[in-house]
């Protein structure tokens, strides 16, 4: 096998992986600030992409304006989700909260499909199809842009969690009752985390939409996002980034090595296997926090 080909798919894989991190970052953002695992991140990504197109195509706004408007809209939707769906579940068993985000996932996904239908639509972001040349290697331009945005977002989020609000959000995720006891408005904090995560979903939706079109497949990014988030450690922003790169490379190589052997579509299998292996061997992921048990 050609080592150049392997290297090329590893690099492109890493870039795709960084784009998976975009979805994972949304999950991490919510988990880190409220300990809620958000299984609706994929459909939020899809919903955001559809809203961008609705602003751009139906309302005739220029794309940049459509994106800005969508960010505002999604911020509101995030706040709304907390208000309607999660506030009453605070402090309930995890099984209820998981079911709730699963219900949200189904509702948002099928709801978008109901409104906009299943046909794939393009997201004309204006990134040219021509590849970048890195020496003799061909690099996908759209992936490179997505990866750069993911890294920028990573830096922003790391800085955010160092601010006073960021510290407050982390405190909420540690202990709801204790947060209430020192005057933290837990509801508002959780709402903020959902809102920010919805904004991240918008960014992911736009970038992924430009790569593979806007349709139901955007919601299926959930599996990638969850795998990356768990592999990185659910509350680690840096972990999400690194795990994305790792998963991307493994997937890229697997599609070259395994596809001929297994008859294609080995990517999904690799995802599922990575997820299972991570959970079985290292449930807290690469950099996740451990539950502190002091004797």
């Amino acid at each position: 096998m050609d080592s150049m080909l392997l290297l090329e798919s590893a690099i492109n894989g890493a870039l795709v992986g960084l784009m998976y991190s975009l979805v994972a970052l949304g999950i991490v953002l919510i988990y880190k600030s409220s300990s809620v695992p958000n299984l609706a991140q994929g459909s939020m990504t899809m919903l955001a992409a559809y809203i961008v197109l609705a602003f751009a195509n139906n309302a005739g706004a220029p794309l940049w304006l459509a994106i800005v408007l969508t960010i505002v809209t999604m911020f509101g939707i995030g706040v709304g989700i907390e208000r309607v769906a999660l506030r009453r579940l605070a402090g309930r068993p995890i099984i209820m909260i998981l079911m709730m985000t699963l219900g949200l996932e189904i509702f948002l996904r099928a709801g978008s499909m109901t409104i906009w239908g299943g046909t794939s639509r393009p997201m004309p972001l204006g990134i040219s199809d021509a590849p970048l040349f890195l020496g003799p290697l061909l690099i996908n331009r759209a992936y490179a842009v997505g990866a750069a945005v993911a890294i920028a977002l990573f830096v922003l989020l790391v800085l955010f969690f160092r601010t006073r609000i960021g510290v407050v959000l982390r405190a909420i995720s540690d202990d709801y009752t204790a947060a209430w006891s020192v005057g933290i408005s837990v509801e508002r904090g959780v709402a903020l985390s959902w809102a920010l995560s919805a904004v991240v979903a918008t960014i992911a939706g736009v970038l992924w939409g430009s790569v593979q079109g806007v349709d139901q497949s955007l919601a299926q990014l959930l599996l990638k996002g969850v795998t990356v988030a768990v592999l990185g450690g659910l509350d680690s922003i840096g972990g999400a980034l690194l795990a994305g790169v790792l998963l991307g490379i493994v997937e890229g190589l697997a599609s070259i090595v395994l596809d001929p052997l297994l008859g294609g579509a080995s990517r999904d299998l690799v995802d599922a296997a990575m997820l299972i292996l991570t959970i079985m061997l290292r449930p807290h992921g690469l950099f996740g926090r451990h539950d502190i048990e002091r004797v």
Binding site: P37, A85, R88, L89, R92, I94, I95, M96, L98, M99, M100, L102, G103, L104, E105, I106, F107, L108, R109, A110, G111, M113, T114, I115, G117, G118, L223, V226, T227, V230, L262, G263, A265, D268, L269, D271, A272, A273, L275, I276, I279, M280, P283
Partner: protein
């Protein structure tokens, strides 16, 4: 009223711990059984074979999931895959010439064997991580079923299921198939009803409440988790096989995809965690809701004079059923079973306001 506690005095423990300590319940069960047995006489075949039959089979399946989710408290997002294992095992066994009665038992055993893999995940992790790993296992099994030609009969293939024969007699009439489903559903229900009176049932509940604490009082939590997963997988496997044998008559991987797992989960949540009668309600609700909703929405649309696209009609029920899950979690987290229980409790002591607990 229907349920009265007044005048009922149990004079020994056996009577107090009977399956249905209140005569009204016993009467209701008898009436329902008679109604069910006589269903082919008064119901037209369309209702019988396209509503009653899948409802019964899905109720059995939902009860199996309830065993894991409601009683043992373990998350299971790969239930449909286990049903699929049973379905494929039964069809292959049948095609190899094994009689159907034995084939479905084999299907159950196969499903129990593979389904127990989930128990090993449950041994290692809990809560969120268990949910995710069972979800991943669902994907792996989906992938295996659809990508191994020896199982699926080639990619994108549909495998025809041979007709059912019981003790050499072919069962092909709608009524016959209905009775097969009915018997299976009654079997599972009886098992579940009795389970909560056994040591196994109590141990499962102990593990659900706090597996650590259960271990401290001498409940081997791993053993019971394994038993719970194996039993529930057996029920899932047989239900999958019965579903194929009596309803679909052919098996494809899509019949047991992750969406179906979520649908089964929705049945249990809507019906009520740990509630047996709730599983009946939940299965009925989730199965019937899309059709009813579509009919209702088409009617509404017709009334107001605008037409809805086919695509809208295809996706709207899904959106509604997502909304239903959300709604139930918010309003009555213990589902329809709990609502039924509340009504029953109210009637038990009517006209007084308080329930003796």
């Amino acid at each position: 009223m229907l349920f009265r506690q007044a005048g009922i005095f149990h004079t020994d423990y056996a009577a107090d711990r009977a399956l249905f300590p209140i005569p009204a319940d016993r009467w209701m069960i008898v009436i329902l059984l008679v109604l069910a047995l006589a269903a082919p006489l008064y119901m037209n075949t369309l209702y019988l074979s396209s509503y009653m039959l899948p409802w019964l089979v899905w109720t059995a399946a939902a009860l199996g999931l309830n065993l894991i989710l409601g009683w043992a408290g373990q998350f299971h997002l790969g239930y449909a895959a286990v049903m699929g294992i049973g379905a494929y095992s039964a069809v292959h066994a049948q095609r190899a010439g094994i009689p159907w009665e034995i084939a479905i038992v084999l299907a159950g055993l196969m499903a129990a064997a593979i389904g127990s893999v989930f128990a090993f995940a449950a041994l290692r992790v809990k809560g969120l991580y268990l949910a995710l790993s069972t979800l991943a296992l669902q994907f792996v099994m989906d992938w295996t079923i659809s990508h191994v030609p020896a199982i699926s009969g080639g990619t994108q293939a549909t495998l025809q299921a041979p007709d059912i024969r019981l003790l050499g007699w072919p069962v092909t009439s709608d009524a016959g198939l209905f009775y097969v489903a009915l018997v299976w559903c009654i079997l599972v229900t009886t098992f579940m009803l009795n389970l909560r009176r056994t040591a196994l049932g109590r141990a499962l509940v102990a593990v659900r409440e706090k597996d650590y604490a259960a271990a401290v009082i001498g409940v081997n939590s791993f053993y019971f988790k394994l038993v719970a997963f194996a039993t529930s997988s057996f029920i899932a496997g047989v239900s999958g096989a019965v579903l194929i044998g009596t309803f679909y008559h052919a098996v494809t991987p899509e019949q047991f995809s992750v969406d179906i797992s979520i649908q089964a989960l929705a049945m249990v949540i809507v019906g009520g965690l740990g509630s047996i009668i709730g599983s009946y309600f939940g299965a009925a609700f989730i199965l019937l809701m899309p059709g009813l909703m579509n009919a209702f929405i088409s009617w509404l649309a017709a009334q107001f004079g605008f037409s809805l696209g086919i695509e809208t009609l295809a996706h709207l029920p899904h959106a509604l059923y997502g909304a239903l899950i959300i709604g139930f979690l918010l309003i009555e987290p213990l589902g329809l079973g709990k609502i039924y229980g509340n009504i029953r409790d109210y009637l038990l002591v009517w006209p007084f306001g308080y329930v003796k607990k």
